[in-house]
């Protein structure tokens, strides 16, 4: 734990600088590529709107905001975890030449995708203004919710990164699991009922289990609760998942510290 804090301080500047560098190099190719940070969620929102509203006759209020919130949060989680699988071998140039605690690369990715998430969440702000969504003090819950999101994402990615070094087809497995996670997290449908009029897509006792057991479903549902529907989040479950996230991160970084010096021998 002490080592973690010491290393984090030591490499903090590197994390910030290299995250910026990665974002910059993405934009360097074509000046307008940052536009895709908006266009991506915007176009996907249109796709899901078509499916949900036209095909499934959804009547969720503020549907575009509803989708943006789910999509941006999910994309952050999904991209970070997926990048984690091949992270060590993709940094071969660095790993074989200097010592750096390998989970720093995860922080770098969290920096990159976190920044993109914030940028695409401007869409949420814009559409919320457009729909005149009434904002209350409950919106402040987004701070602890984001903290839980980052902790869980980091924890899951540390474990995935470690096994990604040794298991060559882990990416295939993770991709399928993430696809399942995508459908089980209620990105374009509501898992639970909203208010009294709108029924959730998952039947009665099951939606509660889903929200409790799938952290992404929980986080996304609660973001919508506090921002759109003036409701309190499941704060007990939030605490539980924060705790789980911390444990995962602790286990993950401990494993990485223990084995990272043999990563070089495998890649």
């Amino acid at each position: 734990m002490g080592r973690f804090i010491k290393d984090f301080k030591k490499f903090f500047n590197y994390i910030v600088f290299s995250s910026k560098a990665e974002l910059k190099s993405e934009v360097a190719d074509s000046f307008l590529s940052w536009l895709w940070w908006f266009l991506d969620p915007l176009l996907y929102m249109l796709v899901y709107s078509f499916i949900a509203v036209v095909v499934f006759k959804s009547n969720v209020p503020y549907f575009p905001v509803f989708v943006f919130l789910g999509l941006n949060t999910w994309t952050f989680f999904q991209k970070t975890v997926k990048a984690g699988v091949k992270l060590v071998s993709s940094k071969k140039m660095i790993v074989t030449k200097v010592y750096i605690p390998k989970y720093m690369f995860i922080f770098e990715k969290i920096g990159v995708y976190g920044f993109k998430m914030i940028v695409s969440n401007l869409l949420v702000v814009i559409t919320m203004i457009g729909y005149h969504v009434p904002l209350t003090w409950k919106a402040l819950w987004i701070i602890p919710i984001s903290l839980v999101l980052v902790t869980v994402t980091f924890g899951v990615t540390t474990i995935v990164m470690h096994f990604g070094v040794f298991v060559e087809d882990l990416l295939n497995v993770i991709t399928v699991i993430l696809q399942l996670g995508f459908y089980l997290s209620g990105i374009f449908y509501s898992i639970e009922p909203i208010g009294e009029k709108i029924v959730g897509r998952v039947p009665a006792p099951f939606y509660e289990y889903l929200i409790k057991l799938n952290p992404m479903a929980l986080l996304i549902t609660d973001l919508r609760r506090v921002l759109l529907y003036n409701e309190n989040p499941h704060w007990v479950m939030m605490c539980v998942w924060f705790f789980v996230g911390v444990v995962l991160s602790f286990v993950g970084t401990t494993i990485i510290y223990k084995f990272e010096n043999s990563y070089v021998k495998v890649i």
Partner: protein, 246 residues
């Protein structure tokens, strides 16, 4: 040289093994589990002990595959020995190598910061040395262009300048680098020589060329198949090594 007994590097009975097992595949493990039973062990360094006093220059010789580079990487902290201890007595260390973590789409200037931070320097320390690095690299206006537009010579000039000018107390050199055109080669050799001969700096050089080592080193360690075959001054070890290799 004054008699200083302060140690810079202590390597005690270090063993480094490579596990010769390929990556695992989940699918193959399920379909053909018996194939993954065997994990061969290959010992690259088999119990090596030596010490380098502060300010000394140690040369490591040996044929290909004798564990020289592996040992150097272990001293650099890139991977830890499976047995034994490497103690650097709190000195900072860097492995002089080409292009640590260059991001091709970024400018040379930004890459100086990235590499420098990876080597453990703070932003301020790099700020201080920035002009010197740029001047030494002879890149001129190219420093603000993306690294991908560089010729391979320019690329290695920049990489060399970064590691040569951001100095650490212990420098590890895998094959004395000669990069760039004839003029830069001479300059980089001179720079390296001045870095190496600085009385406070401890240097470990790995090389095949006994000529370079004779010119630069105080003592020589001869590794053979992961074990120390001989250790001593240049005049003692190098002739025997040459004889052995010819």
């Amino acid at each position: 040289m004054a008699e200083v007994t302060e140690k810079a590097i202590s390597v005690t009975d270090v063993k480094i093994r490579y596990r010769v097992f390929k990556k695992i595949s989940l699918l193959k493990t399920i379909l053909a589990p018996h194939k993954y039973k065997k994990t061969e062990l290959f010992e690259a360094v088999k119990g090596v002990t030596f010490e380098v006093p502060k300010g000394q220059i140690l040369g490591i010789v040996g044929k290909n595959g004798s564990g020289k580079s592996t040992l150097l990487k272990a001293i650099a902290g890139i991977f830890s020995p499976d047995e034994g201890v490497i103690d650097l007595h709190g000195h900072s260390v860097s492995l002089l190598s080409i292009g640590v973590g260059f991001v091709n789409k970024l400018s040379g200037r930004e890459n100086i910061y990235l590499s420098g931070m990876l080597l453990g320097f703070s932003r301020e320390q790099i700020d201080e040395k920035l002009d010197e690095i740029i001047e030494f690299s002879e890149l001129g206006d190219f420093i603000d262009r993306p690294v991908k537009t560089y010729s391979s010579g320019m690329y290695s000039k920049l990489a060399f300048s970064i590691t040569a000018i951001l100095e650490t107390e212990i420098m590890l050199i895998d094959e004395v680098l000669s990069v760039g055109d004839a003029k830069f080669k001479k300059k980089s050799y001179e720079k390296m020589k001045s870095l190496i001969t600085n009385a406070d700096r401890t240097v470990v050089i790995v090389s095949h060329s006994s000529e370079t080592l004779r010119k630069l080193c105080d003592t020589i360690l001869w590794l053979h198949e992961g074990e120390v075959k001989m250790q001593g001054s240049c005049d003692e070890v190098l002739p025997k090594y040459e004889e052995f290799m010819s």
